[in-house]
Amino acid sequence: MILQEAAAAGIHPLAGTPADWIWLVLALPLAGAVINGVLALVTEWHPGPFDPDPIHTGEHAIVPAPTLVERAERSTPRLMTVIEGRRRHGRPGPGDHGDHHEHGDEAGSHAPPARHPFLPLVSVVGPGVVIGAFGVAVMAFLAMLRADPEAPFILRYWNWMTAGSLRIEYALQLDQLSMLMTLVVTGVGALIHVFSVGYMRDDGGYARYFAGLNLFVFFMLVLVLAANYPVMFIGWEGVGLCSYLLISFWFTEKANADAGKKAFIVNRIGDAGFLIAMFLIFWNFRSLDFGPVNQAIAALPAGSPMLTAAALFLFLGCVGKSAQIPLYVWLPDAMAGPTPVSALIHAATMVTAGVYLVARSGTLFAAAPAASLTVVVVGALTAVFAASIGLKQWDIKKVLAYSTVSQLGYMFVAVGTGAYVAGIFHLVTHAFFKALLFLGAGAVIHAMHQAYHATGRDDDAQDMRNMGGLRRYLPVTFSTMWAATLAIAGIIPFAGFFSKDEILGATFAQARGSFLSHASWLGIPGSVVLFGAYVLLVIGAFMTAVYMTRMMLYTFHGPNRTGEAERRHLREVPLVMLLPLLVLGVLSVVGGWLNIPPLLGTLGPVGVLDRWLHPVLGAPAAALAAGRVEASHGAELTLVGAAVLVAVAGIALAVVRLRPARLVPKAEAPPESPGIERTLAHAYYVDDAYDAGIVEPALFTSRNVLYRGLDSGIIDKVFVSGIGWILPLTLGRIGSSLQSGRVGNYAWVLVLGALFVLGAFTLR
């Protein structure tokens, strides 16, 4: 089955080691998805006759047989009955609702039950397969540590397609970069799966949820382990699909279904760019495998228009997937999904695929400085723009969503400036602390929901105005989330400090003089662009500290605003949810030790990640940094100090200025004061602008021009009806006049025909 070939030069050092078993990392989550998917189908299947259209016929002659879910529901009383029901929403829009449990109530036949009938099995299979995949990945990692290969280990399995000189194989590529990503995806993924066991326990779609989550892990691993662009694209599209399925997981509420569609459609725009980039790459290099493409690029002069075009189209794909300006709008809405999904897909892994793609195509981007500067510009603008929106959000998940968009901007600035290792480093630390923040938010929402449920109140469990003072009730969540907050704000020695500082330092160093700073972007010198990006990132870092502190203050500090009766029911979440929080908390603290800068060498081993990723990312990074003048230790120390100072100032400002005691619950809250505050709370009205500028005109055009004009007007009226009208008048009239009905005429035709045939035979 495995047509494994040794790498080009003889036997690869990884051949014969556990790295051969890397396909298991993919197979395990896929098997989990299949098992859980079958269980979900079994439980939600309607046996027997099923009325396909019970709403519109108005007749319920056929009563659908109950599903297993409904039978389970009848035997055990429903846990969430009280708060399930029609919830009032303050303002319309996706994501503006607590996402836990209060769904599917009106749907009737598909309403979720108290507990899933296969709960124990799913609880073992779902997280089990990802933990197993993590185990295999660790074994491959240990083998790689021993072998320390310079060339990527390529495993070829099947031939996918052959057309002319195009030959695409299902091939996996194991190198230091994909190994690191595999560890992050399976490791953080396993923790989030474990958390989900507690979080989703009371949901009727339990098996469907884990099927989606496992499938997501599978596709994400395909994405990071692919050895060529098309296989990567399978993973790229697959994670988009799973994102759609899980955002609209509670699809009986229209807002959730709309949020899923929005994510899917916005991602399509980016994916078109990815496809065009692949066409360009194949057209020019006659290959789509990473290795040959990189070799071919290295042979070309830097900055040729074709390379720039290919890199820019590739980046368009990244902009869609990684939620950068102008395609970031889907990510805040994606918070409509369950919170662990937001943690895994929309914070830790999937949205970082764009950063991974730029790093993976580092050779291409390094050969196209204009494209790299575009990445820097987009990343820096997004970092500040999203951070400023995060300053005024009330929904705890929305704050984190905009924070994710902003942090992704940092990563893009890093990979755009050629600091690929810094970008990947921030990707890893961000996966730790942002997953922790989202899971912590999930724990908070879970506790809020349990409290509302206990008293039967119907209120928004995600609005920070309804929280406050939760540190007394959720002490573990509180402390781990503070660790993550300090990490994302960039306080030494938490993980985010090292990675963010590396990005800032690299941007500044590149700006002072390097290959990139001598390039130009739309006529602007590269050094100006890079300095501008640096300033924006520092401002963004300040805002990050402010909005994160604000979120923590409003959620955990000050007086509690949940309500007198509910307060007694607020309590810490179960152990299965706390465990992932604690592990991620430790990682958020020590994650920075992965790559300590030489400046702080006293703290531990210097530049571990730098050395680890050097075989993959060393060459493109060196190309973009060519001619760089290294700053003195004093200047570097000043920069680091300034970065920490900015973070501390942000936290201090938030602590001094914000008064959690003055907040009132959401129901009593006054509208935002007009001006900048309202603009920020409405995310600069970008969604409204897109609606008015793109969605509405597109709908208008498709309804009036394409549907009424082209489809009904031209195709239906002219072609279909027109042909039906003209044919009876012409051909039909001739044909019918031939049918006189007189036997004599037919006899004439018969005789003449016979004579003709006879004559033809005779004269032949």
């Binding site: 006049s737 006189s740 036997v743 006899a747």
Partner: protein, 97 residues
């Protein structure tokens, strides 16, 4: 001898065809069809002198079928006359498209 018989058969057949094509009365058309059948019978008999008894056997079959056909055909014509009060073929054009 055979040439004369075949010539006579051909004349008979042609007369039958012309009658079928030109006449409007169903009875006459019907009789012309019989004429054509008997022209064929004549050529069968003529050939049977050279090729053995098979031709004569065929003639017996053809006459049997022709008798049956005559019965059915006349019955149809009578039925049509009862229905339409005419046997003029030009006026029997219900199959007109």
């Amino acid at each position: 001898m055979i040439a004369e018989a075949l010539f006579f058969s051909g004349i008979l057949f042609a007369i039958g065809v012309i009658g079928v094509l030109t006449r409007r009365n169903a009875i006459i058309v019907f009789m012309c069809v019989e004429l054509m059948l008997n022209a064929v019978n004549l050529s069968f008999v003529a050939f049977s002198r050279m090729h053995g008894v098979a031709g004569q056997t065929f003639v017996v079959f053809v006459m049997t079928v022709a008798a049956a056909e005559a019965a059915v055909g006349l019955a149809i014509i009578i039925a049509v006359f009862r229905h339409r009060q005419t046997v003029n073929l030009d006026r029997l054009d219900l199959l007109k498209g």
